[in-house]
Symmetry: C2
Amino acid sequence: MKIQLALDRINIESAIKIVEKVYDYIDIIEVGTSLIKDYGISSVGKMRKQFPDKLILADLKTMDEGEYEFKTAYSAGADIATVMGVTPLNTISLCYDVAQKYKKSIMIDLMETNESRITNLKKFKEAIFCIHIAKDEIEKDFESYFQKMKLYISELPHLAIAGGINIELLNKLNKTRIIKPEIVIIGSAITKAFDMQKAAKEFYSLMQNIKK
Amino acid sequence: MKIQLALDRINIESAIKIVEKVYDYIDIIEVGTSLIKDYGISSVGKMRKQFPDKLILADLKTMDEGEYEFKTAYSAGADIATVMGVTPLNTISLCYDVAQKYKKSIMIDLMETNESRITNLKKFKEAIFCIHIAKDEIEKDFESYFQKMKLYISELPHLAIAGGINIELLNKLNKTRIIKPEIVIIGSAITKAFDMQKAAKEFYSLMQNIKK
């Protein structure tokens, strides 16, 4: 299980400083949508230059112009780029093809994506599917939400999970074993922690235990 | 009927040069998603500085972090910012509230947005709703497509139309009078024309006739 650190609403210099602090405990650096929209795709390039040996995800949240956006992100140094599950299917196909061609990864963000669309997305066998949960939904009723999700994600081989992830939630997830994500995306639980390194280490240790 | 010029896949200097050429024939400058993702939100600021008296739209295509993205775009100088219709309703509400607070406009891009969601969006009375058509759909069967659309857009007061718009399509639209958009979004039919000024003028003249 990999830890993806989501970096958002800060400038690239601050983002780099955060990564330096928690480098040993994370697997993927997410250059968040806000970094890309605020400072452009060069945010990805700067991160790549600083951290040549870490996986980097560009959270493009592509809705259109899939081929152009994915080529731009991979050329800038991203290993993984994201497209929304609600994007026209043809656009997702174009993104997937670029990923295959560049031998890079694609993550499909399932936020607001309905069951019938998810069925259509199953053909993208090498894609990572990101279950993006609204915080409100989790707090309301965690188990029924995941049970519902389970119905239509059972055939997706590569899963990631995002949205207000904290230690408590991960413990619950581990206990219920409803889904087994390959990637857990963590943002403010690390970046807003008083001691970021300690917080990252805590997640890292928990992941090690889950692996066993 | 306003003409919105969509600028995409070029750098900001080229975009400014295009606007200078067609300035008199357009009403809204669209800083396209690709300009924002490639060069950051400063693209909007540069356009604002260059053209203080023209309406500027930031095609954010927001899917998340609505409040943050909309505040950033308006602060950079945008008059209009876009959110996707498929975005979680709560996020669209946040975008709408920011627009109201800043006394700016919001455009909701209806790409892939289904009928039941559009019904839920009708409460955003001051929003501009953008019918975003895939080129393939238009070419297949123009009239039946628009007839279908008409069923659920009849109560949306402010409409825009986008997606491969050219003179022929606008003529058809005008003839059938199925929908009456306030804004027509034109990209490559102007920016890829051999003579951009001539192309823009042609659209401008057609719009004047449609107004009558």
